[in-house]
Symmetry: C2
Subunit: 107 residues, 2 copies
DNA sequence: TTATTTTATCGTTAATTAACGATTAAAGAA
DNA sequence: TTCTTTAATCGTTAATTAACGATAAAATAA
């Protein structure tokens, strides 16, 4: 059993926290769901749908992108955002691993 | 517009974000893992292990508790913290549901 | 060329978070 | 009773976040 002062610097702990943090706002979860629906992929579309300013949506998109959960491909004057399969896969594995670890040892 | 301004207020979206936010700090993930190990359960123990002040650990414990992920039972002068099976179960189901939803529709 | 469209970034403000030491309150020991 | 232990809370500071409108940059249209 590793000492826990290690655990704060542990790569997977940090990465899990990073991913969770990116999910830690309703707007960002909503955006991920919209992208999953594939009905929308541009910042402008999302801005029309969510009750947020364009700059705010852009900021949330940036957060999701820098956490590796989405990609952004410039298409002419717009940017097409899309779920990043690798990131989503990581989200899936990292968080399911965590919750499994927690669940099986639960009181 | 209706759909998604709904989605920001959507109960499960908000709850997912709340849970994710609680996980969104390395110290809180580390604490959950420590509690899962069951080698420790008191604030003082955790404080000895993590490189954080007692008040900081207490603050993180409070955050985890208010997100419903842990319980805290007063035992005399100390408080025994424990993973909350209901909360962990919810974390498991909510986040796996989300990641499944995102994964299966991924680009 | 100029105008329009779209997104990113800037600049600001308010709110929240994280960290710490100090203090308080409560339980148990002496 | 008083002393010690433990965790919670207070008070503060610094950093980060979220929100917005305004502006800039880049691609395309006119």
């Amino acid at each position: 059993m590793k000492t826990a002062s290690l655990s704060l610097d542990d790569r997977s702990v940090r990465r899990s926290a990073e991913i969770a943090k990116a999910l830690g706002h309703p707007a960002r979860i909503a955006i991920l769901k919209l992208l999953a629906d594939r009905t929308t992929c541009f910042c402008g579309d999302i801005t029309e749908i969510l009750p947020l300013a364009q700059s705010t949506v852009s900021q949330h998109l940036k957060a999701l992108k820098s956490a590796g959960l989405i990609t952004g491909e410039v298409e002419g004057v717009r940017t097409c955002y899309c779920l990043n399969p690798d990131g989503i896969q990581e989200l899936q594995s990292v968080l399911s691993e965590l919750s499994t670890e927690l669940i099986k040892t639960c009181c």
